[in-house]
Structures are given as structure tokens and as C-alpha cells.
Symmetry: D2
């Protein structure tokens, strides 16, 4: 009853946590993990009740992170939790990741990895020094057609990139933002909990990550215009960043949480001199390939015309949709391979370096806006 | 480490089985099951290797179904497998379900439940007599928007139904059917393994199930035209059934496996005197609601405007797609509630009665066609 | 101010006529016709007023068809109307077409060409005998992507056809049919005005025409189930015809006017052993091409990858949609070429033979249904 | 044979001209114009041949604009051309419009109205002074669902606007731009013919016009980043303008001609605090209405739920698509009403003021970019 599965622990993500469900299901999907324990709640009793509900050994339900680390380190390596998923609120990612990494555990961390670039750099160094596997949940990179898009670009199918346009539009803040009391109560608008940014840090960063992940290009400068909508609101709820890559390609990252009625309208279009590729998260099974003179083509998951990396990211036959859990499941599978020292594709999961890049983007955007919408290096 | 989760066993569905992955992932998703053992392969060694790969207790990897039943019955009830999923080839569903149900296990059975109506009726009786929970994997009933469609119709949102049109078009047999050698090698075209029908029994039956599940109407007569395409091919690869419900509503079930290039193009449109609803499996997060004089509306999962049954079938916030695994997961969650004697929605999972209905449909379609396309009672 | 344009006359289609607008705009589009006169209304005063509103010579506004023929024949050939468009209610198509053709005018006739097969055959013979050009307004054949679909099939792009599925679903009768008084007042449900059939004769016939036009196959047998919904309603408002072509291909024509909320949902899918093509009228600029193993392709009008026949049916650059008027305009342009003895594509416009085919289909469907849904030769 | 129709003349737009076809068909559609004469080509012979091909009076085919003006003014008012459409290359719009307006003709001018703001202001003043009707062909404002969008916003259906995002992406320059010889030969990249801008002036200006037309807001500042792609190319082929309206609303205008494979991908999304509206030109019959808590709605043309302005812009029943010609036809119909002193909707056609606005936008964008991407007043 032991040996093959990777022992997984969760920090946060217990009863009632949406993101907890996503991570646990993702871990189950590839059948490479066994959930063993964690700190499922800031309330010890609640943490234990949650462990019990999942038939876990109650000894592995800890009261806090320090006890978790102490308890697990006291166990023989063959029983010890191997991967720790950090699912706590944003402001806890950094201090917790620091402790967990320092203690030598592999980590899967919710994004944003930290609240500042400095913190991110520290985590990156620490992870490298400790030689642990560090995964960051930029979940959209797990979609088979996102991976296919990356592979097609790497293979030269669209030629030299000349324009990038990425968007993440949500509307969820609209019903709350216009009422002073309601907006004061949103944790994502509270700098103490959310950090320096709301919209850019929460969703713009995903678009940024997709741009770099898919295009293989590095964004080096941004000029951004962000909006808090109300003077008494400290954090951005909408923002646009024009950017340039190291090679001089122009592009856009557009993000909003006041795009009324939008759910998770993430989309990305990349235009090259030989073709273009377009993808939209709410219909994730279609990748559109455009050229100058041929009919547009729709790539769908699981087909043999896809790259092997994309095909390996699909579990079922074409025509049966997979969704967000499956995308996250692919990240967990990637981390599993790394933990088990199996070979894995370089795009199998985002890591600490991506976390640093993301924080650099967020800080550059904020600085650009603060300085009156001017170009800032990332 | 025990108590809450339901102990699950699998018959079939081991290494390399596509349907095995679907069932296991579905079982994990709701976190109500623990996979304990089974007969994962017809080869004992392979079955054991598979159990080992999942860190299962090797004592619970059995060589065959009889050993499985004997072994599990020998265990105290508190350790015994509670639900058995039958994932073997079609022709084994009936004999295995009979044994498993007779031994008093709850069952989740792949469709088609049996190869004949007579067998299906026997299973239904036996399940009732043994008072076990019997679930049948008409997976599409697990999609949140299929459930929403059912609920809206039950609530009268489209008024009295006046027309039904359901389709399941696939193209997978096309690359094989035109070559005599290749088509002779397809197990689904072998009556010994596949039963009386290929296309109607494999996909038409899903469309039939959706029609009755969603509309709440009972199909009482069919007139069908089916096609084997080649004389040396014994089973249908395409077929259409015109039907009438008990209330005289006309409708259509259209099925094909020679619809070249189609993946799993299942769609259903139901028209009533007050409105209409349309759903398409390959884009399962959209349910279209049409009326005489208002703009068409698109219902999407997870929103508060949906029925509670539909909302309970979603795990994540609107805009993050769920797919086939999630649909199957909802069926497993429904069975779990039934097994644990919790209250559950009447549409939570299809059962043995649906299995009987399906086989009656298949036999009526075949008889109609054999008799020269005439009306036959279902 | 004369010489190049073809002199056009209208019978019906005056003030307030929807179909009149369509024909006049279609005639203007290709700049090959000049509207000269006609019988624009059954009321002479109204006819004259309409002529005046369009700055026509009032001498060419006639009181009735006989005066029209007499008046025009009295003019020198160089001034005489050359093409007569017959836009009157269904029951007048035959008697008027007979007169107009007998008098030697070229004709563009609204569909259905007649109310019976016998009448249609007579018109066909007469048109042939008089050697006039006879166009029939099966407008959908004028869409560039319908023409592209026909050309691709003729070129073998989908190989040997193995399945056809065509649909024309409307909902317009739904708000009227359920009220006995309202339904009694619908002229399309009055056999005196509408003929033997409502739904099949009005919309099913379009689907039939598209099937034969696009596939190049001949439907030889039908088995149909039609619905009047109420006993006191004499004509069909919904119906399905299973069919077989001369080569044994199976297919379906599905038609409805009680498909609540549908506008003009005409779509056609044709599956061959090498590929498939799908088109949907409400988004007429996309033609979908599917194969076994390549990404689906979307053909759009005006692109150089289309056949010359399709390209000639487009007036603007790709990406600027054309619609129904443009489709009808293409039919008028085809007739213009025939009238002027220029070479024209065999698919440039439907003619009297298509009218005969359509009526044969309608009568076969009705007979099949009357006989209890049995196979009837077309 | 005279009296009701408006006598129309064309400057440019003769044989082989794509835009000429669009204008003539548009003029025919509403049956309010009669094409009488013009300068159809810079070659007199060609101009005459074109007139002959359309059966026009050859006396009305002029050799040049001066002759046209002189000739028409010499005619009695009852015969004189009333509306002159200017369809010449960009750099001729201003000098020709100046002459035509000065001579007292009503005008429909292709966009861009002029090459500079100064010229545009002059035309606007002159048109006002001469009290003539001046229409500008921002054709997209003629689409029924664009008009519906404008009306819904004016009616408060989306509340207070908080975000605007408009796009016009084309790819047509991609196959030409990368070859030095080919790009040197493109007239749109020649400042002598095209003016100060290619992409912004040709397509960005349409997006700008739609934003102001639909939202009713005034853009007062822009910050733009534009791209010529090659150093030896003088004019922009891609550009983005962030903007602010007078009320402080943020928005984006994104334009490209190097968006490989895109045809005329114009789309606009406007988000308010009560809802949002989205429209896309390549599928112009769908207007999407989003709110916080209700299913998304799709508005389609011709339905009674639309505003009367939108309904009046449709000629056929719902479900039969209209396209670009119909949109332009609506502009011509609007101008016809103005010329005939009939009441017309304020949004019936864009005019000289819109032309001034457009040029101000173009110059502001260019200046912003030249100055290093800084905010510039429009």
C-alpha cells in the first residue's frame, strides 16, 4: 500500500475552499499522488474534521505550518510528505513557501508566488539551493491546446512573431465595486491580503504568463494604464499594458475585473509572418490556426495531428471535452515526473522562475502607471 | 483512516483502458470513494501489476470475478468493497452484473447494460430484489447543463413539448470500414462481442437516453432505417429512428459512426409551445434557450440563475470549463449518496430501469428496420 | 440609355411585399437589369402608385396579367420587357407562369413553382418548347459557400457520399398555431392558397433542393412522417423525410415551422468516405470541411482557395459578409447571362426541372405519410 | 419617369472598383437613388465605356471633376445630380470634396474625409455654410445590430460605461510587407496617396468612429504605440491607442494590418455598471448582451424586441442574414431622407463632424507615438 504514489500535503484548501477542490482533484487525476495530511484550516478543529471527512490519518492533520514541518520531518523519509501544496491567501504564499522550501519539501504554490519581486527572487534562490521541485499554478498552461500552441510556435508554424494580444476579462467585481461598503469588504481589494495589485496581480499575471509560456519570447518593457475606478479603492480593477519583447515585438496584455458579465474570458492571439494562432479559455478545446491564403484550421485535443506534448496532456479520445481540472491535473503530473526524477517536457509545469517573472511584470506595470504611463523595464 | 469513503472495486478498466481512467477519475473527483481492489485485467499478473502501480493492497487484486466475490464476501462488512464498477467488454456486462448483483454488491455498470432486453429485465429485477444501488454510465446525464435543461423542462419553461431532435454523430469507423480486412477486425462490428447492434447500441442509445432523461417523456414507438454500408458487415454503422412518445410527440434520433470527421457530436434540441432548449456536447457549457419573441439566452454552468440540481453538479466558479470526467464524477457522486442513504435528486444517476429502456429501444429499432422500416412499439 | 440592361417586369411584389424587395434588390445588385414595369398589385391604383414611387413609366404599370402580356407584346422587341418575375401567392404561380411562358417571356418564378407535379411538368415542357429562360428562386443556391460546397463535392474532395442530413427549422407558426382562431387565419395553412403542403412545400422543399443541388445525387425514394399538430389544421407544420438516392445513399430532410424560436435554421451536412462538408444559412460565410485525420477547416467567401464559381459569386473582399440579397442577386446574374446568351455555370440558377423535382418530392412525402409512413418513389 | 428618386453622381468607382460596387449597390438597395452620371475613371474613354455599360446617358459621363460640376450646374435643377459620391483615392477626397461642396452638391464621401485635421475642418465649415447634406462612409454604423447597440446604451441598458475595447484586425499587408520590393509598391504605404497613416487612418479610424458612435462618449486623450515593422516603411501597419473619454472612461483602440490571416475582424465590447454589449463584424447578426447575474442574450436583426431604429435598418425577416451592402444601403437611405428633408434618426449616417473627429484621432495618435507614447489631447 505504498511506494509508487507521491505523498501530498496541503496547506490551506480545506472544507469550503474552491481552490482546494481544484488541487485535490488535479492530484487525483493522474493517479500519482496520495493526499496524506496538511494544515487544512487555520482552525485546528476544522482541519481535523476535514482530515476525518477524507479518511486521512488524523495525526497528519496539523494545527499550523510549524507543527506540520516539525511533524513531517520527524517521520522517516519513506513516510514523509513529499510535495506540499500552498493554497493559503496571497499574503501567506511567501512566508509559507519560504519555510516549506527551507525544510526541503517540494512545493506546488498557488499564484501569485509572492507579493513582491524581492520575495520571489528569494524563493527562487532558496528552491534552487535546496534543489527541490517548485511548481506554480499557472493552470492555463496545462490545457492541451495551449501546449499545442506553444509547440506549433516553437516548430515555426507561424514564422517570426510580429504581434501579440492577450486578454483576461472578468466581471465579478462589478456587482460589488459600486457600493462603498461592499467594496471595502472585498479581501482582494485589501493590500494587506492581496498585495500591491488586484486585477493585474490576479488575472493580468495569468495573461502575462501565457504570453511568455506560449510565445517563448521575453517581455522586457511595459507601458501601463490601470484603473481603481473609485478614489477610496486602493487597488486596480482594470488595466492595460502595452509591451515590447526583447526582440522588439509589440503586444498587449489587457485585464479587467469590471468587464461586466464576463466570466473567465482569457484569450490570446499571436500573429507571425507565416501564420497566426488564437485560443480562448472558455472554449478550450479549439485552437485556431490562420494563414494568409489557406482556410482557417481548428485544432482539437487528442488528435494525432497534435504534438506529442499536447497529446500526452489529454486523457480521453477527441470530442469529449476536458476542462480546468484536467489542465491543473497536467501540472500535477508534470511535478510528479520531476519529483520522481523522470524525464519531463520543459513546459510541463511553471516554476519559481515564472513566479519571479510574474512579480516583475506586476511591479513594472504599477510603476509605469504611477509614473504617468511611461515605459518601464520588466 | 476509514469510515467515510465508499470502498470501490473495478472489474476491468486496468492498465491501458480508456474507460478505466474515466471511472477512476470520476470516483476520485467527489472524494467519496476509495479504490480498494478488483479484477483489473483478464490476466492475473497484469491485474496485480496494476494494483501495485496504484499502491493498492495486492490481496485485493483478484484473478477473476468469482474469486473477487468470494474474497470480498469473506471480509468483514466494514472492509468489504461496497460498489463494483463493471467496465468489461459489452458481452460480459450481463453475466458479470448478474453475479455481482446476486452477491449483494452495489454496481456501476458501463452501458449497454446487457445485450438483450430479456437480460436487462433480469438484471433490473435482481437489483430490485437484492435492494442494491445500480448505476448505469449514461455519462452525458451528468453534465450540469443537461441537468439544467431537464430542470427547466420540468419547470415548464418551454411549455408543452412538440418536437424533439437528438443526434449522436461520430466518424471513427470511416477510416476502417472501407477496407474489408480492417472492418473484419473491429470488435464493435463483431456480434459476439458487441451484441445485436453497433451504432444504435453504442451511440444511438445515448441519444435515446438523453431524450427520455431530459424531456421526461416516454418513447413508445419507433420507425428506423439503419445502414451497415457493406454486405459483409453484420452490424449497423448508421441509423435514424423517427419516434413518437406516449403523448404523441414526434421526434428523431439520428446516429452515425460514418459521419466522417465528427468526433462526439451529440446534440439535442427540444421544442415546446413556450420555448426551446438546445445543447451540444462538444461545447457542453452552453445551454441555449429560445422563445418566440425574446433574444436567445445562453445558460452557463455554476451561475445562480441555474437550478440547484445543476449548480450542485458544478465544482468551480462560472467560466472555468468542466468536461466529461466531471460529468461522470457527478454520476459517481449520485451513486455515493444512494449507497450512503443520503437524499439524492431523482436525476442524479441513471439506473437499471434506464438500462432496460435502452435495450428495448435498440431491439425495437432493429426490428423496425428488419421489417422494412415500419412502426414498432418500444 | 438602353441596350445593355435587361428589361425586367414584376408580377406581384409591390408596396409592402417582403419578397418584392428581395427580388428588386437582387436585380439591382448585378447591374444587369432595369425594372421597367409590371402588375405590382391586384389593385390597379396601388400598382400605379407603386410604379410612380419608383419613377417608372406609368404606361408600364398594368392592371392585370393579361393586359401586361398584351401591352408588352404590342411593343417593339427592343423595348419589351424581357424577364418577368412572378412573385404572387403560391396558387397563382402555375396559371401565371403558364401564361407568361406561353407568351414567350423569360421567367424568374418564386417557389414552389406550382401546386402539383402535373402542373410543374407542364411548365417545364412549355418552357422548353418556347425555348425561354426559366429561373426558380431557390435562393440558398446563390450563397457563395453553398456553391463552394457543390464544387468541392464535384471535385471529389469528400470522396463517395455516404450520408446526407439536411434541416430547415423555423418557429414562426408557433405563436399562431395553438389558438384555433389564429391558425384558421394563416394563409399558408389554407390549402386553397398554399396548396397541398405548408411546411414541406415551403421549407422542406428548400432543403430537398439544396441536397440535390449540392450533392449532385438524385433522391429516388422517401419515407416521411409529417405533423399537422391539430386535427382541424389541414396542412403540415412539421415533417421528416428519410430518403435514399439512386446510388443507395441514405439521408434525411428535416423540416419544421414549430421549432419554437428558430428563425431560418437551414443547415446541411454531407459526409463522404474522404471528408465531410457542413454549412448553416444563418452564418453563411463559413463552410466547414472535416476529414478523418486533419484539423477541421473553415472556408470563407472571396478567398483565392475557393473555386472560381464560388469566387464569381462574391462581390467584395473576404471578411465583409454578404447575405440573402447577395445570394438572390447571384441567381439574377445567372439568369441574365442565360438571357444574353453568355456562357454560365450549370449551377448558376435553378430552373423548371428543379421545380418539377421539388413538387415530386412534396407529393411523395405526402403520399408516404398518408400511406402510413412507407417508402414512396420520388 | 422622374420625380421621386434622387439623382446620384459618382466621382471614381467605375469599372473594376471594389468600392464603386459597394456604393452603387447601396444606392440601389433603398430604391431612393438613380445613378445618372459622374466621372467614373480618370480616363475619359473608360469613364464613357462604363456609363455605356450601365445604359447611362453618355452626356453625363464627364472627363473630370471640373467638367462634371460645370456640366451639371448648367442643367436645370430638376435634372441636375443631387448627391455626389466621392470614391477616389484618399489624397483626392479633400480637394474634390471642397469643389463639390462649394458648388452646392450634397456629398457622400469615402473615408478618410481628408488627410489632415485642417482640411477636415475646412470641409465641415464649408458643408455647413453651403447647407448641404454631407455623408461619410463609416459603413459599419449602418449594421442593424450596431444601431441596436447604440440605442440600448442610450436607453441605459448597460448603465454607466466603465470600459471600452474596440479592435480592427486585418492581415492583408502580411504577404506584402516582408518583401522590400512588394512593400514599396503598396499605395496605402505611400504617404503621397495614403496620407499620414496607413493602419490607423484606414482601419483604426473605423474603430474610433464605432466607439464614439455607439457609446455616445467623446474621446479626449490618447496614448498610442504604432509600428511600421520596417525602417524603410514610412507608414504604420499596426497600432494601439489607449484612450480616455471626457468622463474619464478608459478604453482601447487596437488596429492591425499584420494580424496574419484576419480578414475584417472588427469587434467592439462596451462594459457598463449594469451590463455589457459585444459585437463582431464578421458575424454581424449577433449582438451579445451580458449582465452580472442573468444568462447572456443574443439579439438578432429584424426582431420586434429591437429598437425601431434598428428594425428600420433591416429589410427582411429575422434569420436571413444581411451584410455589408445592406449596412452601406442604410447610410444611403439616411442621406436620402436628409436630402428630401424627411425626418431622420440622428444616427442615420455619419457626417463631416465625424470626419473631423476621425482626423483629430489620427493626428493625435501619430503625435503621441512620435513623442514617445505620451498622452495627447484629441
Amino acid at each position: 500500500m505504498s511506494g509508487n504514489k507521491i505523498r501530498l500535503g496541503l496547506i490551506g484548501g480545506g472544507a469550503g475552499s474552491f481552490i482546494g477542490v481544484v488541487h485535490r482533484v488535479a492530484a487525483y487525476m493522474g493517479e500519482r499522488y496520495e493526499l496524506v495530511g496538511g494544515v487544512f484550516s487555520s482552525q485546528f478543529e476544522s482541519s481535523k474534521r476535514f482530515a476525518e471527512s477524507l479518511d486521512l490519518d488524523l495525526c497528519r492533520a496539523y494545527s499550523d505550518l510549524d507543527s506540520f514541518i516539525q511533524g513531517e520531518l520527524a517521520l522517516p523519509a519513506s513516510e514523509r510528505i513529499e510535495v506540499v501544496s500552498i493554497l493559503t491567501p496571497n499574503f501567506l504564499h511567501y512566508p509559507m513557501a519560504r519555510k516549506v522550501v527551507s525544510a526541503g519539501f517540494n512545493v506546488i504554490c498557488e499564484k501569485p508566488m509572492t507579493l513582491t519581486v524581492a520575495e520571489a527572487v528569494e524563493i527562487e534562490s532558496l528552491a534552487s539551493e535546496k534543489n527541490i521541485v517548485f511548481g506554480l499554478s499557472h493552470t492555463y498552461t496545462g490545457y492541451p491546446m495551449v501546449r499545442q500552441m506553444r509547440e506549433m510556435i516553437a516548430a515555426g508554424d507561424i514564422g517570426r512573431i510580429q504581434k501579440i494580444d492577450a486578454q483576461y476579462y472578468q466581471g465579478w467585481i462589478n456587482p460589488l465595486i459600486h457600493d462603498p461598503e461592499k467594496r471595502a469588504a472585498i479581501w482582494r481589494l485589501d493590500p494587506q491580503k492581496s498585495g500591491q495589485s488586484c486585477c493585474i496581480g490576479d488575472v493580468g499575471i495569468h495573461a502575462f504568463n501565457l504570453v511568455e509560456y506560449i510565445s517563448g519570447l521575453e517581455i522586457t518593457r511595459v507601458l501601463a494604464d490601470i484603473d481603481t475606478l473609485y478614489e477610496d479603492n486602493l487597488l486596480d480593477v482594470d488595466g492595460t499594458a502595452m509591451f515590447r519583447t526583447r526582440d522588439g515585438v509589440r503586444g498587449l496584455i489587457r485585464a479587467s475585473q469590471i468587464a461586466t458579465g464576463e466570466e473567465n474570458n482569457i484569450s490570446i492571439a499571436i500573429y507571425g509572418n507565416k501564420g497566426a494562432l488564437k485560443w480562448h479559455q472558455e472554449n478550450p478545446t479549439e485552437l485556431h490556426y490562420l494563414t494568409d491564403d489557406q482556410p482557417q484550421r481548428i485544432y482539437k485535443p487528442g488528435n494525432s495531428y497534435n504534438s506529442s506534448f499536447s497529446q500526452d496532456s489529454t486523457k480521453i479520445a477527441p470530442g469529449h471535452p476536458e476542462g480546468l481540472f484536467d489542465a491543473m491535473g497536467n501540472l500535477y503530473s508534470g511535478v510528479a515526473k520531476a519529483v520522481r526524477k523522470e524525464s519531463f517536457h520543459t513546459g510541463a509545469f511553471p516554476g519559481a522562475t515564472d513566479g519571479v517573472r510574474g512579480m516583475k511584470f506586476v511591479e513594472a506595470v504599477l510603476e509605469s502607471n504611477r509614473s504617468g504611463q511611461v515605459w518601464i523595464s520588466v
